[in-house]
């Protein structure tokens, strides 16, 4: 009897102390922009963090899209209801960088007693989110770069077993594939990230003056004077000849779906789609990835990082910053990076993370094979001023202008030169407007 009472009391005591502890957990929010499977993956990361310790509790609601995450975070920030951490995509970087709305990554970690080896981050990734002097402002999180996807079965039919390395080889393969009866040798969309940004980086072509904007807010777009023009002419010719086909999500099949279903035999897309293709393609379909092709006679430079980084917003309490620092420290651990890369197609962002993945044999597993190419592509050369990244204001609008320009060009509404010139002109107007808005602000 006594004993039962005792255990009862203990249980009760335990229950209360447990409840008290649960109540004391410091709660923070991370607003993410991913949805669907990738969104759930982020939530699992948060869940893992919550289980790894008892002091903090993070929740990671999705805002529906990258755009929406930024929009909502801004609206909330202005209303002083901002989350502690927000996931901001590459194009939204500069607006935030010029504001007082964030706590720089280094300061946050130092103030909360974490010793981070900043050199551990791959420079090709970190530079995109760092000041001109290389100091990290936000934490690289879901990072990717573009890869070239090709269907091995189809290539076997035309007697090839290697991915094309140059665009000239792509063209020859596409021609052969077309003669072999393939209706869509290569899928193309209007994505400026692959067609413009990655292309310019790996070919060492400037996108804008002032080292793609790193040198000051008065940069101007110059893509109407670079190899980009020839490249788009090349793509347009391929489209006209039926070697490339436009595939867009608006109407049912984006390029990833068109490739995974076997309809299209080549495409350029993010390494993050590696998992999607693996999951949605027919199991018997043989496919692989390669680095993006270059124009013949070009020396390849490193490609650009894409995806998003995690920004810590200002105006929160000390406790919330402690929680944020703990979380950001947690996701940079090699084990977390392994989980993240296994669960999604994203790549590890630290050297130790990459090593860890290698030693665990991650890249030898058939379903992940080829993803190491993303890192190879990102680290192909030392980072040059032109392959460091893009630091342009209003870049979301600029991307849209250039996407519209490409759409018009590919639809045959305007000539290649006309289209690109118009896009550049409109983009430069956006840049000037941005410069005016941030008059008196200096790039860090």
């Amino acid at each position: 009897m006594n004993r039962i009472l005792l255990t009862g009391a203990t249980a009760l005591a335990l229950f209360f102390s447990g409840a008290a502890q649960a109540q004391q957990r410091i709660k923070v929010e991370l607003w993410q922009g991913l949805t669907g499977d990738l969104g759930s993956a982020v939530e699992e990361v948060c869940q893992r963090f919550n289980e790894s310790q008892k002091e903090f509790e993070i929740s990671c609601p999705t805002q529906g899209s990258y755009d929406a995450a930024v929009q909502n975070a801004i609206a909330a920030f202005r209303a002083k209801k901002q989350p502690t951490i927000v996931q901001v995509f590459d194009a939204g970087t500069l607006d935030l960088m010029l504001s007082d709305a964030f706590v720089p990554a280094r300061r946050l970690m130092e103030e909360n007693g974490y010793k981070i080896d900043w050199a551990n981050y791959f420079p090709g990734i970190a530079n995109y989110y760092a000041s001109g002097k290389g100091e990290l402002f936000s934490f690289p999180f879901n990072s990717s770069t573009a890869l070239f996807y090709w269907n091995k079965d189809a290539f076997a039919k035309i007697g090839k077993s290697e991915a094309p390395k140059t665009w000239q080889e792509v063209e020859a393969s596409a021609r052969a594939l077309k003669s072999a009866g393939y209706g869509c040798p290569m899928a193309i969309n209007h994505d400026t990230w692959t067609l413009l940004e990655q292309f310019s980086a790996i070919h060492g072509q400037p996108i804008a003056t002032k080292d793609n904007g790193y040198g000051g807010l008065d940069a101007e777009l110059v893509i109407n004077k670079t190899k980009f023009v020839d490249y788009i002419k090349f793509i347009k010719k391929g489209l006209d000849e039926g070697l490339f086909k436009i595939k867009l999500p608006e109407t049912g099949a984006n390029i990833v779906q068109a490739f995974a279903s076997g309809d299209c035999q080549m495409m350029m897309s993010s390494v993050a789609d590696h998992g999607t293709v693996g999951k949605t393609a027919k199991p018997e379909m043989q496919w692989s990835v390669a680095m993006l092709p270059v124009l013949e006679g070009t020396k390849r430079l490193n490609s650009l990082v894409g995806g998003a980084s995690l920004w810590v917003l200002s105006g929160k309490s000390k406790d919330e910053y402690r929680a944020a620092a703990a979380f950001l420290n947690f996701i940079a651990k090699p084990e977390s990076e392994l989980f993240w890369s296994t669960r999604t197609g994203y790549i590890p962002v630290t050297k130790t993370g990459f090593q860890h993945l290698k030693t665990q044999g991650f890249y030898d597993k058939p379903q992940y094979k080829g993803r190491e190419l993303a890192l190879e592509s990102l680290t192909a050369t030392e980072v040059t001023p032109l392959s460091r990244g893009i630091r342009l204001g209003g870049f979301i609008q600029i991307r849209k202008e250039m996407r519209d320009a490409l759409a018009d060009i590919f639809a045959g509404k305007v000539s290649v030169e006309e289209g690109i010139n118009a896009g550049v002109e409109r983009s430069n107007a956006i840049l000037r407007r941005f410069e005016k808005t941030y008059a008196g602000k200096q790039l860090l």
């Binding site: 709305a101 639809a411 008059a439």
Partner: protein
């Protein structure tokens, strides 16, 4: 509109008005004032200062070819959808009002689309008109790009006009039918006894009596097409291909929320606001008079 018999207890009247006035001030005038302020400054999205810009934002908007493109497309959309939705609704209402056998069933079904959320209609029509899975998929197999709103801007515009009109067809039908039913039957019967046939009566009696409704709906349709198209566009074409379906309200949304150019979007909002105000004013004056002479 003045009545002779009224209460004169001012404080009760004021008290009764207070809730709505408070709501309107808090959620309408204050935010509108803020938007107005932004239209004359260069606002930084993350806060931290703004520059007074005078009329620069408006100058930029009006010198922007893309803006005039959006205005032009808004006009096309407004006229296209209004003509389609009102024309068909009037036709169906006139015939439905003949009250032949089974007219109740027609009447019921024709009202239903009114209940469908614009975004849902957008999603549905996006599927129905999808080049690779929808109604036109078979034709596309025979003739590639026979129908492809993701590449062809004209197709995309047709797509959003059809999806939008589908919903507003029902709305207009309700009003036309209501107006027709309010025409005294005796009037029509008298005319029938004079020996005029149904079509004659439609033209001579019903049509002229519909004029006020026609005008009212015309203004409502035009106004709504300027502001209510957002949901459909967002879930159907996303403003594309290129800018082929970027109407004024979608451009405001894109520039402001996606492009983070709050001031440019605010200036555009002010222009749109003036436009809608002008239309509403016309409508209001007119309805005011109509109430008088009835």
């Amino acid at each position: 509109m003045d009545r002779r018999a009224v209460f004169k207890t001012a404080w009760i009247g004021g008290l009764l008005l207070a809730p709505q006035l408070l709501l309107v001030f808090t959620f309408f005038y204050w935010p509108t004032g803020a938007a107005l302020f932004w239209a004359f400054t260069l606002e930084r999205p993350w806060g931290g200062g703004n520059e007074f810009a005078g009329l620069d934002n408006f100058r930029m908007v009006f010198s922007d070819a893309a803006y005039w493109g959006a205005v032009w497309r808004s006009m096309v959309f407004a006229l296209g959808s209004t003509a389609l939705a009102m024309g068909l609704a009037l036709l169906f209402a006139l015939f439905c009002d003949r009250q032949l056998r089974g007219y109740k069933a027609y009447q019921t079904m024709l009202i239903w689309p009114y209940a469908v959320a614009a975004p849902a209609a957008g999603v549905a029509f996006r599927f129905l008109f999808a080049p690779e899975a929808g109604v036109f998929a078979a034709l596309n197999k025979i003739h590639p790009d026979f129908w492809n709103p993701s590449v062809n801007g004209v197709h995309a515009m047709i797509l959003i006009i059809v999806a939008y009109s589908w919903k507003y067809l029902a709305y207009n039908f309700i009003f036309f039918l209501a107006a027709l039913q309010s025409i005294p039957r005796t009037l029509i019967e008298a005319s029938a006894m004079d020996g005029s046939g149904p079509l004659r009566r439609m033209w001579d009696i019903q049509f002229p009596l519909l004029a006020p409704t026609l005008f009212f709906l015309l203004v409502i349709n035009l106004t709504d097409s300027f502001v209510d198209s957002f949901g459909i566009i967002d879930l159907t074409t996303g403003g594309g291909p290129s800018k082929a379906t970027t109407l004024m309200v979608y451009k405001i949304y894109f520039d402001g929320f996606k492009g983070l150019d709050y001031s440019g979007a605010a200036a555009q909002s002010i222009v749109l606001m003036l436009l809608v105000m002008a239309l509403t004013f016309v409508q209001f004056r007119y309805i005011e008079r109509r109430v008088h002479y009835r």
